[in-house]
Structures are given as C-alpha cells and as structure tokens.
Symmetry: C2
Subunit: 457 residues, 2 copies
C-alpha cells in the first residue's frame, strides 16, 4: 500500500545520526522562569554540583548554546540502536478511512523498550567521564530505570534505582530486567533514607510516588562519595538529549518531502514531547511554520490541563530547587488504578512556558479510550504500544477522524515512545473489561495545590 515509494519504516543510515543535540531554550523568545533555590534565590551551576555531575549541571542552566556536540562515545552507542525508524501507518490510515497521512517515530527498538535510553546513555557517559563511581535515580513505570540500567552497565557505573513501590509490586519483571543489568533496585519509600523512613513512620503502607523516589535517590547521591543523581524527564538537559528524536524525524521527513501539520506526543514530564517537537517548535517560534503541537496527558494526572503554572518542588520531600512549571502540587499522586507512566506531578519548565505562551495545545484523555486505541494500533501496525505512547495514538486517531470529516489531508507526526511488554497486566484489565478511569475532582486538586511553596507567585 506504500505510495510514492514512501516505505512503511524509514531507517536513516547510522552516519546520518545528528552530530549535535538542539537546545530548544536557545530559540525561545521568552525564557522559562529561572530555577530557584528553596530560599528563593537564583540557582547557579555550582549549586547543582552536589546533585548533578558538572557537565549536566552546565547543560541544565545553559540557555544560550543552540547546538551541543554529542560526544563520540554517546554516538557510538546511539549507533547500536539508532537511528530509530520513522514509520508510516498505512494500515491505520486505511482502517480509519482518513485522508490524513500518519507518521510515527518509533523509539521502542532497543532493550529498554523506550526513548528513555537516549538521555540515559548521555547522562551515564558524562558521569563516567567525570570519574564518578555510581549514580542514583528513581523510576515509576520502569522505562527510565531499565534504560539507565543498560546505560550504566555499558559504561561500568554502579546504579541504585528507587522504584515506586506500587510499580515494583505490579511489575516484578521490570525489576528483574534492571537487575540483569546489575542495577540495585529498591522499592520506594524505603528504610534506606531519611526521607523514606519519615514517610514510612507516618504511613507504613505508603505505596510511593515518583516525587518520593526522587527525594530518596537524591539523598543517597548527595551523601555517597563519588555518586551523583540523574533524572529521566522534566529537566532541561533531558529535553536536550531527547532532541535526537525530533532531529532524526525532521531529517527522515525531509527525505520523503514531508513536513508535519500537526505534531502529537504524550506528556508526563515532557521528555519525549520536548524531544520530538524540538526542531519543529524551533521553526514555529521563528515564524517559519504554523504547525500545531499537541501534548496528550492522562486525565488522571492532568498537569497541563488542570494544573497551576507556578514554582514548585520537583520532589515530594521538597529537597530540590524550585522550577516554574505546570504542577498539580508535589504531593499529588495519580489514582492507584492509573496504568503505566505519565504520573509525575509537574511538567518540563520549557514545555510549561511554551504552553503558557500559546505555542502548544494540551488535551487529557482517559485510559480506557487509550487502551482501545492501543489495541487497534497493535492489530494494524504489529507493535504493542506502551500505555504512555498510546495516549498519542488516541489523539492521533481522533485527529485523523477529524480530517476524515473535513476532508483535509493533514500530515500528522506522533511519537511512539515505546513498547508495552511490561504493561500486560493493564492490557489484561482492559481485555477483561475491568479497567476503570479516574479523574481527580476539583477538591482533590485544590488540596494537592494548596501546598505550593509561597515563592514567585
């Protein structure tokens, strides 16, 4: 069914992997509000050194360098699993009867099963290059922890992963996967940190949250000689590394003579979305295109669509600097029936600013409709998508059906961030009809937002 010789899956040659990441901030007309220390003063690079290795602290605050060289050692690993394919969803288009052209960038073709590896190898490389002994991190659904386990093992770094307890219990195989790459995996809250012990003391059955796991991982990093902390989303440095997704997509589309009218990505902390849209948003800000950029988030964790644009902590323990972002409050936890990732209380400060300034749209979708889209996609495209990615599939299908109504032959690009091999319990619920949706009430959100720090408001 391929038309104009556009293949179902286009793989660039490894020599076409971009040599530089693109720093989305550098092209923004207005900068995101700066990171602040908890006392309200400006966070500088050196303030971050206890937490991040130096090069990553630099990248975190560097708002001016447009293109950053990707180290040769990182390119060497990218070549083992990249370029990731740009796929044309011919069968989905035909099934929907839409005039739209649907492309997706598939980032699941590596063992970690998601795009997270792109930043994991970069962060592990910089840590190793600085002579560190080990790193710590948190993981929720497990994609980031798995990716970082791979990367740390590759570079010979020790790794301690704090895994949100409810995920660790629901996803034992994620834990085994990380252990297969020699990572030490601890369920969070744990009794190995002050933060964890305090939480367990007041609430022994606490099922954990990303925010708590972050607090624990940071505590260990700053108190252990030769260790630093790394994070898989939200941060500016992560969006920088993930720009490889968008840059490859841009190049592959150009090869096909295509340019997207709409770019759609799921949004949890923003790592995939920020990476996917980077070059397209660069051109939009510069007035070179008029595309639509759509963030898709879970209705059960709706930071863009129902959160507040305010300074907040990045963790539950309130130990991190403050970022101005769309947030549900650092104590927010999505309902226990929420499947997969996209469960963070905040959102990338870069994306938050772009959304606030009207460069992006955001929608929230319920998970039962997400799994319906996921199953249709699996059947037609031979890929079982991760629940996270399936948020973008759901929105893409809706967009393509609108095109069917209007007759517009739009070119849609969405990010297929990963595979769902570790989410089969959620698929099982959906298959059996026992999956439920949960939308936080206004009261829920008022409560979690009541706790925002009184800074910069």
């Amino acid at each position: 069914m391929a038309e104009n010789n556009i293949p179902h899956r286009l793989y660039l040659h490894e020599n076409e992997i971009p040599a530089k990441w693109y720093n989305l901030r550098a092209g923004m007309k207005e900068q995101p509000d700066p990171m602040l220390l908890p006392d309200g003063t400006l966070a500088r690079e050196e303030h971050l050194y206890p937490v991040f290795c130096k090069e990553l602290a630099h990248q975190e605050l560097d708002a001016t360098t447009e293109y950053v060289d990707i180290p040769k050692e990182v390119i060497d690993i990218y070549k083992v699993y990249r370029p990731a394919p740009l796929c044309r969803a011919y069968d989905l288009e035909e099934y929907l009867g839409t005039p739209a052209k649907i492309y997706y960038k598939f980032e699941g073709n590596n063992t970690s099963g998601s795009h997270k590896l792109n930043s994991a190898v970069a962060q592990a490389y910089y840590a190793k290059a600085e002579g560190l002994k080990g790193i710590t991190t948190e993981t929720g659904a497990g994609q980031w922890g798995t990716a970082l386990s791979e990367a740390a093992r590759y570079f010979g770094l020790d790794l301690v992963v704090y895994m949100v307890k409810v995920s660790a219990e629901q996803k034992p195989f994620r834990k085994i996967m990380m252990e297969t790459f020699e990572a030490k995996v601890l369920a969070s809250p744990s009794d190995t940190t002050n933060v964890g012990r305090a939480i367990l003391e007041s609430d022994p059955d606490n099922s954990g949250s990303l925010g708590t796991a972050i607090s624990e991982a940071i505590e260990v990093a700053v108190t252990t000689e030769g260790y630093r902390y790394v994070l898989g989303s939200v941060l500016n440095q992560v969006l920088l590394h993930q720009s490889i997704i968008g840059l490859e997509s841009e190049l592959a589309l150009k090869r096909l003579g295509e340019y997207p009218d709409v770019v759609i990505g799921c949004a949890g902390g923003g790592s995939n979305l920020g990476g996917l849209i980077a070059p397209f948003m660069r051109d939009k800000i510069a007035g070179k295109n008029d595309i639509r950029v759509v963030a898709v988030e879970p209705a059960s964790c709706p930071s863009f669509t129902r959160g507040k644009y305010a300074y907040d902590f990045c963790d539950t323990g309130k130990t991190t600097p403050l970022a101005r972002m769309y947030t549900l409050g650092s104590g927010f936890k999505p309902s226990a029936n929420h499947a997969g990732g996209l469960r963070y209380h905040g959102m990338s400060p870069i994306l938050s600013k772009l959304y606030h300034d009207g460069y992006m749209e955001a929608i929230a979708v319920e998970q039962s409709s997400v799994f319906e889209a996921a199953k249709l996609f699996a059947r037609l495209e031979t890929i079982l998508p991760a629940p996270e990615s399936s948020h973008a599939i759901k929105a893409t299908i809706d967009e393509a059906l609108k095109c069917k109504e209007t007759g517009e032959a739009k070119t849609i690009l969405f990010g297929l961030t990963g595979t769902g091999y570790f989410d089969l319990n959620a698929y099982d619920q959906y298959n059996k009809g026992t999956m439920t949706d949960h939308i936080p009430t206004d009261e829920d959100l008022e409560k979690s937002l009541a706790d925002l720090p009184q800074i910069g408001i």
Copy 2:
C-alpha cells in the same frame, strides 16, 4: 567503531524484501525420506487436507519448486516489520578481542518478538484465502502462539491456542498478549479434547508437552467446521516461509561485500535454522562454498546430538503422519527446569537429512552457559536476547574465541531469533544463581526412544 562504513545495523529498503521464498529441498541431492501415514503408506497431499489448508498441504510435499512466489498480501505485512536488520556486533568483537567478524540477523523487531511471525502471516493468509473461519495451534514458550495471534487478528481469523500447561503457568503475560490479539488460549492438556481428557485421566497433574498440545490442536481442527491446524516449526512449509531470513541476510551481506564462513543457529524444531541457512546451504550443496553450518541445541533436549534418525510421530497423541527425523521419541519431555523454547522431541526432516548427510554440524550447550552469554550480549548490544537465540550467541562466542586463538578472521553469521521480555523469570534464576542444568541420562533417552513406531527402520 564501524570500519569500512559497515553500519552496526543494516536495514534494506522494503522494496528489497525477496519476492520469493526459497525451497531448500529443491536443491538437495538426496531428498528427506517421505512423510508416511501411520499405516506406513505414503502420505499424499489429499491426506493432509483435513489438517492443513490446501496450499499449505501442497507446500508441505512440494520438493521440486525451487522458488515460491510470496503472495502480495504477505509482502504487505512483511513491509510493516521487515526487512529485519543485519547487525554487526562490534562491541562484542571488541570485548572478546577476536579477529572474527560477527554478524547477526535480528528477527525480534516486531511485537511477537521473534522470527515466528514470518511463517505465521503466511499460514494465516493461506487459511483466510481458502475461506476458513479459524485455525488452531499449540505453543510452548509462547513465541509461536503470540506471532500467530497477531497474524490471525490481522486477517480476521479465529484462533485457538493450546499452550503447554507448565508454560501457561510460568508465563501468564504470554497468555495476556495472545488474548490482546483476541486468541482463545487453553492450557494443555485440557478437558476440551479426547487426547487431553485421556492424559488427564491417567495423570491429572500432567504439566503438558508440545507433543500433547499438538495432538489437542489437531483434534479440534479436524473436528470443527471451517477450521484447520497450523504449526510454527518442524514442517517443510515453515522452513520455506522462514527462508526470508536467510535470503535477506544473503542480500545484506552481499551489499557489504561479505560472505559467511560459519553460519550458526539455535535449533528446536528447526524453523529459524532452516530459514537462516537456506541460501547458504543451497550454495554449499551446489559446491559453490565450503562454509560450516552449526546447529546449537539445548543439552536438555538434544535431538540432533543424542536422538535417533528414525520415523516418528510429530505429536504425543500419535495422530499425525510419520516423519523421518532426529527424534528423542514422541513422549520425550525436557526437564522442568529447562527455560524457554527448543523443547520439541523431533527436528525438521529437511535439517535432519542434511545433518545425517554431513552438511551440518550440531552441538548441545547447557543453559547456565547460555544465560551467561545472553547477559554479556545484552550488556554490549542493547538487546535482551531470548533464551532460544542465546544458544546461538553462546556458540558464536566460543567460535570467536577459537578465532582469537588461531588468529583467523572468520566471518560468522548467527540468527538472533528474538527478545527475552517474557523470559525474565529465567533471567532472575540465573541472576540469583539458582539456575540449574539438566542433561537427560542415557537411560532417560533409551526409555523415550523405546516407543518409536516400528516403521521404516
């Protein structure tokens, strides 16, 4: 580290997918002994019609057509996930310090996670084209059942899968995966067939075997209107479809100016090995090369290395025609501690004949050494290999280390048949040091071989 611009992963364009499968039998100097009915008379195409759809019955017995057109509808699906990449294991070479060049054909880049989809889509297509309502099959480790679920769903066929009970219990996620593609999955032995009920009556705790599951699936197929049976390995038709692996490998290697000195593949029923070696063995038989072909089987299920070359039933219930093959006896079951697939009692008649005539070598390896190789590979190549595939990795590493000793820069090609996402319990055992090996005693094998049918001996 890529030299001569040979990429880590070479993807051909979808228009380069071979238009025809290669029928390995057609080039053989001596044919495998013919399939016989249980009474010892020759099986003809029409004898197979109650079990297989007509085109597949034809392919099963066709020893003369060298190249078989791949139907357009099958090519259309191949294009969604093929060509599969030919990979160069630079990091593994460097780690081993070998002068050998190691290539592998990676067949895990589809949701089923293995090469099995290549034959599944072909068999499902022919069944649909003949107007059938549904198909039945068996699955052990679950790769075949998953692949066929995808294929059946794609073509809109009903599917009933008999899954070896011990696997169904160890791998609940495989079952969910199949159900996500709307397959009906039953643990075998079951109470839904005469064969199953008879086994359960004499042995209520019977944990199942591939042979039993085959018997059940065939019984349902031949007694249900509009149903036929399909099988994922062993059969001649399956090797025909899987030749796509070897043909793509040959083409990709040619593009790189390479030709293998050694081709290595894991061997259970022979579907991957027979497909991988097809064009290389074609040329070897024709005297155009002098390559080594190595089958790697589990020491716990050693049909090539310790089985008997004799006529045997393909199932435990003794309902199928008889094939002359290397067999451990149709009642053989590998020890319960055996992980993954490669647990069939017999071996492809085509490969059995080639082995018998000296065209191939075979070795047996123990699973703890296989998982050691698997973990090393995962660390270096960012792919978590299936246990089955890891048998070939183990043999490849040993071959590359021999090259290190001798200084020979051999070109090795092995088949990386799939991913290990559903085998993490086995990885967990290996990680924890609780994995054990099991080699059947001579007495075990004498016992299971004592039951061979007294035909053609």
